[in-house]
Symmetry: C2
């Protein structure tokens, strides 16, 4: 008994992951690239891990949380000045009609963003977003949006960092929005956030030089934009990539087509009871080509229902 008590028992680095093929594959990969005695060893400087955010690190239903936030801001602004609702898209958005607001696709979102995410400094915007994320409540779970992060993924981020990886967010969401909560939610500092970029200008306001959000989008970090965003910000090919939709296909493909070892992970939303169940169809987070090609490409599918013992980082 004493011998057992005295022996070093390594704590499970992924306690919210059920034992199974996915968890085993993650740990096996991490051990294979961190053991200097193995040919598969990767030095710390090259242990780059990139994570999609919406649907991968936190929930994204019924709509991207940043989108719900944008609609909320627009609604408040329109209450003060109804004349800003100068198009059908904006009218739909201000009434909370997500379908109407997104009927035009990304263009509609940009139109909403040009009003809801513009005309203030980056600092003001982030303060406002942080406030909203920690006080507004999600329509079906009743949780604060900031609490709807996935406990198993937080454990995975910590595990990788403990093993010498640098963890990045590479998201189609706005970089300024992500940075308003990424440090607190994920332990990911602002410089390790890659996202869609709005037009920001350095300019004088009331005699002070500030970084002002001007509306408009200068870079979309989604689909084929993700490898480009990685190249621009990180300048290295990741060896660990996690995503949840076909918007991550290019990033997964890029990471796993290098010469060295690489790991691709796809979070498959299979749990209608505890979270949401969706894949090939829908207005958000569509996963179809990824499902078709995951096996062939050696990517690992997370079955949320069976692989995760717990979903939320904060209990409901």
């Amino acid at each position: 008994v004493l011998a057992i008590l005295a022996s070093p028992v390594l704590a499970d680095p992924l306690p919210s992951w059920n034992e199974g093929a996915t968890k085993a594959a993650i740990i096996e990969f991490v051990e294979s690239v961190t053991d200097p005695a193995l040919d598969s060893y990767v030095p710390e400087a090259d242990r780059v891990a990139t994570f999609d955010n919406d649907g991968t690190l936190w929930a994204e239903q019924p709509f991207y949380f940043q989108g719900i936030y944008a609609l909320d801001v627009l609604k408040k602004k329109a209450e003060a000045d109804p004349s800003i609702l100068s198009s059908d898209v904006l009218k739909a958005a201000a009434s909370g009609d997500i379908k109407g607001a997104t009927a035009k696709g990304v263009e509609g979102l940009i139109e909403v963003g040009n009003i809801s995410h513009a005309g203030m400094t980056v600092d003001q915007f982030q303060k406002d977003a942080r406030e909203w994320l920690t006080t507004a409540t999600h329509p079906t779970t009743g949780m604060h949006y900031a609490d709807m992060t996935y406990q198993p993924m937080l454990e995975l981020l910590s595990y990788l960092r403990d093993e010498g990886f640098t963890t990045y967010i590479v998201s189609g969401g706005g970089a300024d929005f992500l940075r308003s909560f990424a440090q607190e939610a994920y332990g990911i500092p602002p410089a390790q956030v890659v996202g869609t970029e709005g037009d920001t200008k350095y300019e004088e306001v009331d005699g002070k030089m500030v970084l002002m959000k001007r509306g408009g989008v200068s870079f979309i970090d989604d689909k084929e934009g993700k490898p480009v965003g990685i190249s621009r910000h990180i300048g290295q090919r990741p060896i660990f990539v996690a995503g949840n939709s076909d918007g991550d296909f290019a990033m997964l493909e890029y990471a796993t087509s290098g010469e060295g070892p690489a790991f691709g992970l796809i979070v498959h939303h299979t749990d209608a009871d505890r979270e949401f169940a969706y894949d090939r169809e829908g207005h958000i987070g569509v996963l179809s080509r990824g499902l078709d090609e995951a096996e062939k490409r050696g990517w690992h599918l997370v079955d949320m229902k069976n692989d995760w013992a717990r979903i939320w980082s904060v209990p409901k």
Copy 2:
């Protein structure tokens, strides 16, 4: 004697800096933000330092080294196919006529870059740039370009990192070009390089997915663009900034107009014997407003001739 030998003698962190006001101010600032007992203490996560590159970390005369490289590449390409020299700017550039090539300003440089820095993958470009920097020789010093980094600034970078700072390059030069040598020259990894960005596309070439440099510029990281580049990449206001020209004015102003402590440093090229002497006039690295306002704004001028005991990191 024994007591002296046994007492802890702290090594000089900046041995190539002559004793004087500038060196003293740097050390005083670093000590003031790293001592947890002081009100001026700044936690490690906020110790962001940004450095201009050309004229600040390495030389920039008679012309930006990346520009000389671009002219060299263009010349070689034109030897194989003279028809690419379709404009006066390109003809001047290929003949090594810097004045003619830059008569149109940035536009001319972009025209040269569209041929010299395009049509290859990011990896190929960086391999080629690295090769050139370590084999081609500078017209007046006869040194390899990669060796023309400033020893005192390398010591400053190391000193700041030892004291918990994260050091970034924030340069008007191309990010891909900078990343080809920043790790080896400065100990700065690719993710900590912010620079001007070319258009890169993720696309299939010969059945392989690659990051292809397409020519064109999507972001210019100079002047008012530097605070914007910092916002986009780092997402935090730096507390230590070093530059050498009015192209760094906005970055210096941004860093030193926050609420907490901040340090601005301007490398003033005063040493015609050991390096080059220039400031208010010229085609490159013009420092005029910075000279006028440094004292008022509390920025520290490095007098290269008197403040630096040694210039080059590699002896001539």
